[in-house]
Symmetry: C2
DNA sequence: GCACTGAGGATTGTGCACAATCTTGCGCGC
DNA sequence: GCGCGCAAGATTGTGCACAATCCTCAGTGC
């Protein structure tokens, strides 16, 4: 028919709705945050991400809103979305939550004492030892996060595992923001002891060790001395 | 000027972007789910909600996706969004997570033993007693959820409080789906005892009571006998 | 010098007219 | 009667052209 309805977008061959693109964009951003390629305060504009990922505004908004819900991104109305920059109070709450939740995951793993799970944890430890011997604090903490996430997954509870995954990610932001006076002296032996007690089904001791371990990470940070965040340090973006 | 740019939407006075409308829609839906006005399997179409709430599709999608992340709504591709209908395994994980997390909140409240917090909890108990005397199981469990949420808020940790709020909401779905053979015999005295031990700073006992309490709620449900969910029982919608 | 205003910029929300994809149901051939 | 296929329906994603809102930064009056 001779309808003149060519107003908007007729015969656009490039707009196929791909639902899981939002998930992909989310994963990319999440990994970039955890790997500290995206630093706190970095600006994330819809249009910029549309161009970067080649997806529509809706999927970008979906990914950003999920990150916002996970407290990794903060929306400032009519200003844009920014990578979150937790303050000292929020940091303390994150660590407190980690103590509470990871006590639960540790208890589950220690009670089960599944040899297969223990083996996976030992494998993770191997890699951690390798990096620790080279003295890289940041990588050590990063892999430490991997250890905690793995432990949560092995607990068999998806709810707790998801929470630990998020809290580890937020810890990554926190480590970036507060001066790190970490003496990794006796710090590295905790994971080994933890595994051993889990293997032997020594539940109480394992849980206690996990709590101490997390609190020790917190104490290694100077929570009263936050690195100033300019909230417009945009240019770091040009790296991914 | 005499611009003829009336292609799309010129001078629409009704399209002012109100950012917090997404939050309002989310709250309405969340409350409806917790209050069991929206039952598991109910279909939630974007367009229907656009007309119901008078907001744009984007904000509706935002609200729905948040509910989806919170596991209260499930997206089925090209079919629409549905109120979640947890299976037995998911139910067990929710209860396990509640045991772990609420052990943490109880510990915090009992350690603080703040008289003001205790008073608030007592006030909640009063209302629960009133409803329990009338024998309403559903309302009792609903208010029981309120007690747990309040406890989590009083623990002073927003992370844990948010999680408990979500887990309580999911429990509301679960209670709806599984045959409830609840004998609320000794069930109702737990909250009273719990408060007392919190008041006296009896941390270990309080935590143990909370764990038992949650497990008792779980045991009162027949998790192996799920009520069939038609996943198209739409008409229940006409009630809000 | 200083406060205030106003124009421009930046950013997100909206309605619209599709496009893509899956489900459903009906008719047809056998 | 029965399976099969194709058309119609339903639902969400997309690009576009705005609208609304807030921020920024000049320029002006006092």
């Amino acid at each position: 028919m001779s309808q003149k309805t060519r107003l908007v977008g007729v015969m656009n061959e490039r707009n196929r709705p791909r639902t899981d693109d939002a998930e992909a964009a989310y994963q990319h951003l999440f990994d970039a945050i955890v790997d500290q390629r995206l630093l706190p305060g970095t600006k994330l504009t819809e249009i910029a991400l549309v161009e970067a990922f080649g997806i529509g505004r809706r999927m970008v908004a979906t990914a950003l809103q999920r990150l916002s819900w996970e407290k990794l991104v903060v929306f400032i109305p009519n200003r844009g979305a920014y990578i979150a920059a937790p303050d000292a109070d929020e940091a303390r709450q994150v660590f407190a939550a980690r103590v509470a939740i990871e006590a639960g995951t540790t208890e589950a793993v220690a009670q089960a004492a599944d040899p297969k799970a223990i083996a996976k944890l030992r494998e993770n430890i191997e890699q951690e030892h390798k990096l620790r011997d080279q003295g890289y604090i940041r990588e050590a903490i990063h892999l430490s996060g991997g250890f905690h996430t793995l432990m949560a997954e092995l607990s068999g509870n998806r709810v707790l595992a998801d929470q630990v995954r998020l809290l580890v990610a937020r810890t990554s932001l926190i480590v970036n923001l507060f001066d790190n006076q970490l003496g990794l002296a006796g710090w590295h032996d905790h994971h080994d002891d933890l595994i051993e007690h889990c293997e032997n089904g020594n539940v109480e001791t394992a849980v206690g060790l996990m709590r101490e371990h997390i609190l020790e990470i917190q104490d290694a940070l100077a929570l009263d001395r936050r690195r100033p965040v300019s909230f417009d340090m945009v240019r770091v973006f040009a790296r991914g």
